[in-house]
Symmetry: C2
Subunit: 152 residues, 2 copies
């Protein structure tokens, strides 16, 4: 990793350095790049990993629920699920309670991949957040959760 250019240090004193939204964007860009790199060996990206991971859980989400939770447009979820389904990682099952809705559920292969991918993602996060203490990391997680789910 290159050291910051000398002239960049002038920008470090700029107004943006105290701007929560800017810091959020930059930290997210760094974490996203590291996450995508860590997941690429599994044929996944952050997006598809999120969908797969949720499908592998107990929640049995519909596509609409996935879209809301991941802040994606429903039409984006269609193509993410299409891709995962083509690769045999998830299935669409009609919701018995509402025949309009598809419940997305991981196959055995999907659950296996999700758990392997989770290990890689965790290792990558470890590297990105290595400079934070366990306590800081927990604090950060709690504060971010408050921003990410403001209805609480």
């Amino acid at each position: 990793m290159p050291k910051p250019a000398a002239a960049e240090s002038g920008l470090r004193a700029s107004a943006l350095t105290d701007d929560l939204s800017f810091l959020l964007a930059r930290a997210n860009a760094i974490a996203l790049a590291a996450g995508n790199a860590a997941l690429s060996g599994h044929g996944l990206k952050a997006r598809s990993y999120s969908v797969l991971s949720l499908a592998a859980g107990e929640a049995r989400p519909s596509q609409r629920e996935l879209a809301e939770f991941l802040r994606l447009d429903p039409s984006q979820v269609v193509s993410l699920v299409d891709d995962l389904q083509t690769r045999g990682l998830v299935e669409r099952r009609p919701d018995p309670a509402d025949r309009r809705a598809n419940v997305v559920v991981a196959t055995d292969a999907g659950r296996a991949l999700a758990s392997a991918a989770r290990e890689s993602a965790r290792a990558a996060e470890e590297r990105v957040h290595a400079q934070l203490s366990d306590e800081d990391r927990q604090t950060l997680t709690d504060l971010l959760r408050a921003l990410a789910f403001p209805e609480d």
Copy 2:
């Protein structure tokens, strides 16, 4: 703002809810949407606001420095500066010390717009982060800065 769907609460218990990268992505998406909405009245988005804001400061950044600081490709900075320059908000000045480099500096109109836009952005952030105490907000800012600028 709609209340969360009942079925979404199942997803709230999922593995992703403890995933720092996921929370970062979701919080960023929320802040970005609010920021872009707040800036649209000024004809700006988060990206162009960042460039304008840095050009309005004391740092006199080159395009390359802007690209590194904002984690953008240099070619993206070209079109952002093009747009701002067309609107008379910034100028490109040749760097006397390196004639390859353009220093990007705000015009009077650019500085005025930057400062008006900063007010709007701050008000929007206030709304997004209203549920955090001042102390929590400061803690979050410091922790995010550690992630966003890991070389420190």
